[in-house]
Symmetry: C2
Subunit: 251 residues, 2 copies
DNA sequence: GCATGGTTTTGATCTACGTCAAGGCGGCGA
DNA sequence: TCGCCGCCTTGACGTAGATCAAAACCATGC
């Protein structure tokens, strides 16, 4: 159990700016007390790429937020058909307070560090600290919007539009992680295998591969190796997604 | 503006048991004061079947919950492709606190009564009354789960499985509205046109019609008229959905 | 009764994507 | 250096569901 050691190694305030629980929210007393309290309910876990965090239906006695790396949420049918239902990036939250079992398979796609909270104490804190519910509500509403956008993609978009949408999403997130490099030539690695993309988009891996090749041939994207993408013209890519070009700013 | 009149016609406590705002939450003072306060921020609106409540992007200065009837949330692409992303039944909540514009088209599928709260005062109350955020969080998490189940359906199920799933969902909700009639022969009206079902399932209306005919021919469902369905054997129907038969009780 | 318009069914055909199968590429350990 | 194994690509072919088109159904008003 490396929880105490890890918590001391990396100051909490540094890694967990996006956690639903901030220092101040936990305890108004001195920093030392705070840390000592946090150490009893909060700990880090590391996973290697490909490792499963939990299986759907397994007991899950923590909630967590992603510190670094990428994880996926997926559902599988008895005959093996699989659908991803969420992509977890740094600062995203997993687990449902009040629910003792995982509802989805959670898998580390890259090396992954998660910041976990024991579920019981976390639920207690939610009761006593309204800001946690409020923050969680905001995050959940964002996820719901993302899920609904994804429903449009799954139900109505063509394979080419699906690929373009996924690449655009990854590009946007990547760009917002770096600085706000407006409409310049973007360049990044795809964090998912072709199979994972297929599971995400409701396609087969062959179709994913073919459509990526097609977008490459048409100059919408450039590929170096199999994973590294550069986007010469982001607007061109967005046109291929089938989405409104104005990006729909709703806040 | 029928807000005051309507509020008085039907006692609030009766229609709005499932509203995120309950009487007690609003005001601890006497019932009269409470009512008078509520009347300033809460009002009913009625819509005819087929009417649009708001269009995506329109200003929306209220949040609301469905009192009776059925509404749908949908997104449409520029070329007219349409995908439903939510089905609103009595007690379901629409609108996002903090967001001034609708993110989706909201349409009344049947005659509809909604209980609306002015957005500004509602947001104030959320700040002062933590139970509202907590309740809303629960509801949003449920919706997110439903959305994710729908993603599996859209991405991976066959047309026949999609139809069976939809019928099963409607049947279950109908059954839980009536009494808990366990695994008996169920009977109800489909609240959606074939086209609306198609938009919900990511299919065309022709495919919907064909698959309904097929399920009927195979004895999985019985049809009287075009809308009235009876399910002779619910388990048989569930087998056709492709879902785990154990229903996955997670809570 | 009959005309009207929205909904639903059914048929004939087309096509985007899935399926099956064969290689190619690139990293890693022996 | 070679061979292995996991990824990825590409081709040939099959099929579920889309598309196009016609007709049947059903409620409504005249």
């Amino acid at each position: 159990m490396p929880k105490v050691r890890t918590a001391q190694e990396t100051p909490l305030s540094q890694d967990c700016d996006n956690c639903p629980i901030r220092h101040r929210a936990v305890c108004a007393r001195c920093e030392a007390d705070e840390l000592r309290f946090l150490e009893t309910i909060k700990y880090y876990r590391r996973f290697d790429a490909g490792q499963t965090v939990v299986w759907s239906g397994d007991r899950m006695d923590f909630v967590a937020s992603v510190v670094s790396g990428i994880a996926t949420l997926s559902q599988t049918m008895e005959d093996g058909r699989r659908q991803m239902v969420g992509l977890l990036l740094p600062s995203d939250f997993v687990g449902r307070p009040g629910r003792p079992a995982a509802a989805y398979d959670v898998t580390a796609t890259s090396d992954l560090v998660m910041c976990c909270f024991r579920r019981g104490p976390f639920e207690d804190m939610m009761r006593t600290t309204p800001s946690i519910s409020q923050r969680l509500l905001e995050m959940t509403l964002d996820e719901l919007d993302a899920a609904r956008e994804w429903m449009l993609l799954l139900g109505r978009k063509t394979a080419r539009e699906k690929i373009a949408s996924l690449v655009a999403i990854i590009a946007r997130r990547d760009a917002s992680l770096k600085l706000h490099g407006r409409s310049q030539s973007l360049s990044f690695d795809l964090p998912l295998t072709r199979e994972a993309m297929a599971d995400y988009l409701g396609l087969t891996l062959e179709t994913v591969s073919r459509q990526i090749s097609a977008l490459k041939k048409d100059g919408v994207i450039q590929l170096t190796g199999q994973r590294h993408v550069t986007i010469p013209d982001f607007n061109r890519l967005v046109e291929e997604t089938g989405d409104d070009t104005d990006g729909g700013f709703l806040v």
